[in-house]
């Protein structure tokens, strides 16, 4: 029995959803940015904004609005949409990095975004110390991390540099270490912004394989992608978002078709309107 009574009805994919409670429930989700406060605001800027007469609506921007969907255990959901549609904001909300401005996000299980590739590295600390620091940021128990550390070091393949300060690392070494840390723990729910590869060809193959392992191990996957070919390959369901709202939910092929169709329509309109700007892609 499926547990996915979403707007368009349940869609069966290659993975059979179990009858547990859904891994992810998003209900009427809205994420709003306050434009007066984003990006290095100064008091002067926001004071002048406060005193100027203007419609209140212009100070806010809804990156996502009225978004509802569910992801069952065992499902892999692709998120499609043109640039600026709110796909990344959705991942941030699911990861718990952004709080919903309205509605609710219910995520059952541990989440990993793999966004953490080297973001928190302290340059003066050694690679080994940075593994501990990253684990502490991620909230991974230090005993578990101690067990995982040899594997991380082996995977990152940076040899004796592991005991040198990270500031001495090359960009590739940093990326490899970051990737090894971010992928060391298999999460229940994997949030991916593109199926990414890091570093040189050899490491890229290795990292692709690891991501596939993670995808196999995860109970649910959300994949944001521009590569329409990967959608059918990795996902059993897909949603299309435009301007922060849900346009379509369905099988990967169906959603990709809707996406292509709408993109062409937009392009046609743009061509008619002068043809100087083709929109996304």
């Amino acid at each position: 029995m499926t547990f996915v009574p979403d707007v368009t009805g349940a869609v069966r994919g290659p993975l059979v959803p179990t009858d547990e409670e859904p891994a992810i429930e998003v209900e009427n989700l809205g994420v709003r940015y306050d434009l007066r406060l984003t990006r290095r605001t100064t008091i002067k800027g926001s004071l002048s904004g406060m005193f100027r007469e203007k419609p209140a609506a212009s100070t806010h921007f809804w990156a996502l609005r009225h978004l509802s969907f569910k992801v069952a255990h065992g499902e892999s959901l692709a998120v499609l949409g043109p640039n600026g549609a709110g796909k990344s904001t959705l991942l941030l909300a699911l990861a718990g990095i952004l709080d919903p401005s309205e509605g609710l996000v219910d995520v059952h299980g541990s989440v990993s975004t793999l966004l953490t590739l080297g973001a928190g590295f302290e340059m003066e600390l050694t690679g080994r110390d940075n593994i501990d620091l990253a684990a502490a940021f991620l909230g991974i128990d230090h005993r578990l991390m101690a067990d995982l550390t040899p594997e991380i070091i082996a995977f990152a393949d940076i040899g004796a540099f592991i005991d040198a300060p990270v500031k001495t690392y090359s960009t590739g070494m940093r990326a490899r270490l970051g990737f090894a840390i971010a992928t060391s723990v298999t999460p229940d729910i994997l949030l991916l912004d593109e199926v990414l590869g890091t570093g040189d060809q050899i490491f890229r193959n290795k990292s692709q394989k690891r991501i596939h392992d993670l995808m196999d191990g995860a109970k649910a996957i959300i994949l944001v992608t521009h590569d329409l070919n990967t959608v059918a390959e990795y996902c059993n369901r897909a949603i299309l978002i435009e301007q922060g709202t849900l346009i379509h939910v369905g099988s990967p092929q169906e959603t990709v078709d809707v996406y292509r169709h709408r993109a062409e329509e937009r392009k046609l309109l743009a061509d008619q309107a002068g043809g100087r700007f083709t929109g996304d892609e």
Partner: protein
């Protein structure tokens, strides 16, 4: 690769919080700090490693820095202005070192949030650990810097009394007060970078308004001035440090103003409670605005 993530990684239910009370926010903030002790410890370690990294004499700067800073004031006031305060070097050190600690704490904690904006947008973690660890790192470097007083004390042995042992008590009062201010400023600075600029000027004003280069007794004894200095937490703190480390114009180390310190400690704890709650209140917005 094979292990399943522990529960702590996941956010379980992120229901939109309604209006959570201040006490609840405060409780959450304290719980965040306590549950992330290890993270705070690593961050303090990283902060300390970063200071004076890449310098030739490295660790020596911990002690040299405060001494040289005091020596500058000493030269200006003792030699140029001919200030005749007995044992002036010790007099200055007793107040300038704690003052420097306060300034460092405020600047580092304001920087601690904005400098980690990349991380804040990539990992969900309690942001309150950032100003907390900045304050603790500043405290460690202050404690090390205090040894510079030990270095000069042999010159002023006649001023040494057991009251010196109260320095940690006074420093604790200052720590609670500083932590409260640091948390508020770290949050405010994330929204408005002007806060950092304004703070520099307020710090400078407060430096001259506090008995650091002088004592309260040097001031005209009007009621208004007494009252104003009674309201300045640094008048209380600096006078207390000076009492136990230096003493009076005529005598050695003596008892600090216990009533003033006690009141300040209570006020500081109340402020800290509000500061933690305030930080928790704005914390969800940080990932959105940075």
């Amino acid at each position: 690769m094979s292990t399943t993530a522990p529960d702590t990684v996941g956010l379980q239910v992120a229901r939109r919080r309604g209006s959570v009370g201040w006490l609840e926010l405060m409780r959450q903030g304290i719980a965040d700090i306590l549950s992330r002790r290890r993270l705070i410890r690593y961050l303090v370690g990283a902060d300390l490693k970063r200071t004076h990294a890449d310098t030739v004499i490295g660790q020596l700067w911990w002690i040299l820095d405060p001494i040289l800073q005091v020596v500058v004031y000493f030269l200006v006031f003792d030699l140029i202005f001919q200030r005749k305060t007995p044992d002036f070097l010790l007099f200055l050190m007793a107040a300038i070192l704690p003052w420097k600690w306060f300034g460092t704490i405020l600047n580092d904690s304001m920087g601690s949030v904005v400098s980690r904006q990349g991380l804040i947008r990539q990992i969900p973690f309690p942001k309150i650990v950032l100003p907390t660890s900045a304050v603790l790192a500043g405290t460690v470097s202050f404690a090390i810097g205090l040894t510079s007083i030990v270095v000069v004390y042999p010159l002023y042995l006649s001023r040494l009394t057991p009251w010196v042992l109260l320095v940690p008590v006074i420093a604790f009062v200052q720590l609670i007060f500083s932590l409260a201010v640091a948390m508020v400023l770290a949050a405010a600075n994330a929204f408005y970078r002007d806060v950092s600029n304004v703070t520099q000027h307020i710090l400078r004003l407060l430096f001259y308004l506090s008995p650091i280069l002088y004592t309260i007794d040097d001031l005209p004894s009007s009621h208004l001035i007494r009252l104003l200095y009674g309201l300045n937490p640094f008048a209380v703190l600096m006078s207390a440090y000076r009492s136990v480390l230096w003493g009076t114009k005529t005598g050695p180390g003596t008892a600090p103003d216990f009533v003033g310190l006690g009141v300040l400690l209570i006020v500081s704890f109340v402020l800290l409670g509000f500061a933690i709650a305030l930080f928790k209140r704005v914390e969800p917005a940080l990932a959105r605005i940075l």
